[in-house]
Amino acid sequence: MNTAPLFVIIPLGTAFLVSLVGKYYKRSSDVFSNVACCILLGLSFYTLSIIRNIPTHLLVYKIGGWAPPVGISMVIDSLSVFMLVTVNLIAFLVTVYSVDYMNKYTDKWKFYTLFMLMLTGMNGVIITGDLFNMFVFLEIASIASYALVAFGTESEELEASFKYAVMGSVASSFILLGIAVLYSYTSTLNMADMALSLTAKGPAKILPFVSVLFLMGFGLKAALVPFHAWLPDAHPSAPAPISAMLSGVLIKSLGVYALARILFNVFGVTDVILSILMFLGALSMLVGVFLAVGQWDFKRLLAYHSISQIGYVVLGIGLGSPLGICGGLFHLFNHSIFKSLLFLNSGAIVYSVGTRDLHAMGGLREKMPVTANTSLVASMSIAGIPPFNGFFSKLIIIFACVQSGHFGYAFWAVVGSVLTLASFMKVQRYAFFGALGKKRQDVKEVPLAMQISMAILAVICLVASTLVLPAFSDFVTSAAAVLSGGKEYANLVSGAFK
């Protein structure tokens, strides 16, 4: 049984169902969403095991029975399944967390409907093999996230959402324009077919223009530095579970994944594109962390760190060597884990204490032990302290920089890492250690479901380090092989169509 369509059908059906019945039966939206996310998580692991047992590591589904350049196809390869596991893992833990957290807001069913639609969009982008279809699902995820950022309907949230929506729409227009130019040139929309057609036509003068359009479009979605202005507003304004989803997976699946898939597998990268990617990555890495150090708003600080960490991912992928891509993807996975955890921690503090200002916290360790310990794990992980996963992925990226002779970038990556450490020492010092304020004596730990989801994420922070061991490293390396294989993807996929 081919599982590919289920990744779209299940969340989409759940969203429609929740919007029908959620208004009348309050608990049903909780139950439906959690069950759906749980099934999706199981399904992605099941797909992972299927993919490993197929010799070509490729699963193709022809929608409507039309053979691909004519119809739309779904393509799941190692990279897609890597992203599917990441997205659905975070989504499941976030829904568990939301059950209690979202009680603070009105109209919970709207939250769950939008959440499931956003998940539909991300899954759709990841599994599609068609360029225009990717755009459509990208828009679903984006529009759902615009609305989710404004979920609290306070003035700051609306303002952030407006900014995000305008920037996001401009980005989408750039992407759509790029697709139009590509369609005119190749007369097809299927990605594999397009790659073959581009190869057949020889070095195309149109590609630099389209690459720039896509870099601007997807770069905006991924919040790379010249295009990052919306992120520090939008991510802190959203409710904490949504911040975790946005920073954890949305900017990666819509930005980094889509960009890497198109640039590497459809266009075939050139040295110029790689150096642009590396430069943008390093720039984001440094600018993000410099802006983060001075922040006193906990969630805003985390948002700036998202820019910085996305910089690491793009730097790793931009190196173009197998080791670099491997490090970049591994860091992508790790970052979704620990950044989601940190945002959930910040949400827990908002839930119990009601503030995001680091000055107003202090000494929360004794009252909120689970939150404090999980956030300690996440902080050490993001700062790159040895036993945790963040250390290994950063190490691999730095090694890869040195290996391909980019000593400057390696140096800046180390500098960024040190500054990250400093910034998170500040967070730990002001939020959890120190003396407990007088007003904070009646602070309580958050409900059990929220604790559980934070604890699971913290455990994954530790367990994910084992992915560097040869026995488990296949998960990341096979995904990296898809990208470093370049246009090999086109031959494999079009072979599978027949």
């Binding site: 225009f132 828009e139 404004a150 303002e159 900014k163 305008v166 324009l177 139009a180 369609y183 202005a229």
Partner: protein
């Protein structure tokens, strides 16, 4: 070629409006112009000289049709544009309700 370029000029006008105007409704107008330009670009790309509309008829044979794919894509893109516009206008009206103005320079609780 000239048609493509004029279409991109239209795109740039919209882009300029979004980047430089300081009024929420003007920004929405700019986004609308960008959408029109992209949709028009798609339709231009699919045109064939002396082509016919891609609708078959029972009593005549049509040989030279324009490309139907861009039309199908634009149909989707128009809907997406409408959806985005509706959402952004709703947010803008709500901002007006909170701040009493559409002027972006007076709406700055958030910084950079």
């Amino acid at each position: 070629m000239a048609a493509y370029f004029l279409c991109l000029v239209l795109f740039s006008i919209g882009l300029y409006c979004v980047l430089r105007k300081r009024n929420l409704i003007k920004i929405v107008v700019g986004l609308g112009i960008i959408e029109y330009a992209v949709n028009l670009f798609f339709a231009l790309v699919g045109y064939r000289a002396r082509g016919r509309a891609p609708i078959l008829s029972a009593d005549q044979v049509i040989s030279n049709m324009v490309d139907p794919i861009p039309q199908a894509l634009v149909l989707t893109a128009i809907v997406i544009g409408l959806a985005v516009t509706a959402l952004i206008v709703a947010i803008a009206i709500k901002i007006y309700e909170k701040y009493g103005t559409f002027d972006i320079t007076k709406i700055n609780k958030l910084k950079g």
